[in-house]
């Protein structure tokens, strides 16, 4: 008899234990699912936020950056800051806003050297090869050069003058006798430092730096540019002229 009740108590205890474990496991799983959704969402970067030089692509960055702020501390220009709770950037991660303080492109890249995790890739040793973002002249209606003036400020302040931004001379059709010098950004050279956006004289900058993936197009892998192929081959790829039959509208011209 005593043995029986003992067994019962044992079963009850086990049942209670299993139930409590199930409740905890269930609660924590739900919590975890919420956290996972939040983590995935956090990978979106707001458009005007720029990561420090050498930052891994955003999807990898959030698994690599431990939010220690050592890059912030070693930035000599106080450009970098850590995202605070409530900001749209993943909390604790380093970023800068070009219009506030742009990157001065230090030759020794102290922010990368300070990073203990490699979230800022230590393989980047040449600052001109950094791709923090890409400058885009977003508003041709307000850019003074597009209005026919010689502002040129973005072009002048660019650390890669005549490479990352060039001036493209075009006929001014409004006055019909002047030339417009249109700033053109070249993604082969632009590091996304943001000096152009910072220096733009307008109340709201007409040229802005965006994350690369937001603004950069991509040709199909199979696309070939005829003129480049021709140069590579050292001549036309097609032997002789293909003469297609002329087609005229019925009844002649």
């Amino acid at each position: 008899m005593a043995n029986k009740t003992g067994n019962n108590a044992h079963t009850l205890n086990r049942r209670r234990f299993l139930l409590e474990t199930a409740v905890t496991a269930c609660g924590v799983s739900l919590f975890g699912a919420g956290l996972a959704f939040y983590a995935r969402q956090a990978k979106g970067l707001p458009p005007l936020v720029v990561r420090p030089p050498g930052a891994l692509p955003e999807a990898d960055f959030l698994g690599a950056c431990i939010r220690c702020g050592l890059c912030v501390r070693d930035c000599p220009y106080n450009t970098l800051r850590l995202a605070e709770l409530g900001e749209a950037v993943a909390i604790g991660t380093p970023y800068f806003v070009a219009r506030a303080i742009p990157c001065e492109m230090c030759e020794d890249i102290p922010c990368i050297k300070a990073c203990p995790t490699g979230a800022l890739n230590h393989e980047l040793t040449e600052i001109t090869e950094a791709r923090m973002g890409l400058a885009v002249l977003v508003d041709q209606e307000t850019c003074l050069n597009f209005l026919g003036l010689r502002c040129d400020v973005c072009y002048r302040v660019c650390p890669l003058l005549d490479e990352a931004i060039t001036l493209d001379a075009q006929h001014n059709r409004r006055t019909d006798k002047h030339t417009m010098f249109l700033p053109v950004v070249h993604s082969d050279y632009c590091t996304g430092c943001g000096k152009c956006e910072y220096a733009c004289v307008l109340e709201v900058a007409a040229i802005k730096v965006f994350p690369q993936q937001l603004v950069k197009g991509k040709l199909g892998e199979h696309y070939r540019k005829g003129w480049e192929e021709k140069e590579k081959a050292g001549g036309s790829l097609i032997k002789g002229i293909i003469d297609l039959p002329d087609r005229l509208p019925e009844g002649g011209l």
Binding site: G27, G63, I66, G69, E84, L85, G86, G118
Partner: protein
């Protein structure tokens, strides 16, 4: 004074850790740079949080050697002194939850949501799995410990809200709820300190007069009983003990003292 000895030492240490990190940004004296996630002391000593590093590894990222080295140094330190020394001697949230617990007692608030003390290990496991699944350092999106510390050193933002939330949670909803039941950082450091050398022991347990003061002040009271009331070793061996020393402070019979897992330190004094 004696009855607050370890409490005062702990608060001093917690403020000292914060203070040394603040010397740089406030006064331009750069002894330490960074925060609790990773820091560099005197441009030579790297320290990295091993729990954050583990999540990063699971997210698929291998850190630089200096980051791994920093984590190794921290791991070795807490292997010796007890993982949860981090909780009671370093963590800034501890000050908040201790305050909530003492106010809770003063206001005589009895009702509490009872979480299992193993919840934190579940949450720890969950944070590691989510880190792996989402390739992010998942707990750092929520971790109030790093949020508060980073907030003080780098800029608070809305972190005050988190601090108030934790305080109210521990005060009104759950007795010692956060640090004692849910926080996976504490769970991680518990596991880390499972075999640690430094331990509180109840070597004078025959002097115990059952006043229950130690159980009342202890943030993890379940750890005391086997050592104080059992017949086996008087050493508190549970990895959940935070080595805060409050039992030593509060005991009028001088039952407890710091020692090691094998022999007592300072056997003859006091």
């Amino acid at each position: 004074m004696k009855q607050f000895k370890w409490l005062l030492l702990r608060r001093l240490m917690q403020l000292l850790v914060l203070g040394v990190f603040l010397l740089g940004p406030w006064f331009g004296v750069w002894i330490v740079k960074g925060n609790l996630a990773a820091s560099l002391t005197l441009d030579t000593l790297p320290l990295t949080d091993p729990y954050v590093s583990l999540q990063s590894l699971l997210a698929g990222h291998i850190p630089e050697i200096i980051g791994l080295l920093g984590a190794l140094i921290v791991v070795i330190f807490y292997l010796l002194v007890g993982g949860r020394v981090y909780c009671s001697w370093v963590c800034p949230i501890n000050i908040i939850t201790d305050a909530a617990a003492s106010l809770r007692e003063r206001l005589d608030i009895k009702n509490t949501i009872q979480f299992s003390r193993t919840s934190r290990y579940w949450i720890l496991g969950m944070s590691l799995i989510v880190s792996w699944l989402t390739a992010t350092i998942a707990w750092e999106f929520l971790n109030p410990v790093s949020m508060l510390f980073r907030g003080i050193v780098f800029g608070m933002g809305l972190t005050y809200g988190i601090v108030v939330a934790i305080f109210l949670f521990d005060l009104l909803l759950s007795h010692r709820g956060w640090c004692g039941h849910l926080c996976p950082v504490g769970a991680f450091y518990s596991i880390l300190g499972k075999f640690s050398l430094l331990r509180v022991n109840a070597n004078q347990r025959d002097q115990c007069d059952d006043c229950m003061d130690c159980f009342r002040v202890c943030p993890e009271p379940q750890v005391i009983k086997p050592a104080l009331k059992g017949t086996a070793s008087p050493i508190i061996l549970s990895p959940n003990c935070t080595n805060c020393g409050q039992c030593i402070d509060v005991c009028k019979q001088d039952v407890f003292r710091f020692g090691t897992r094998v022999l007592n330190l300072s056997k003859n004094d006091r």
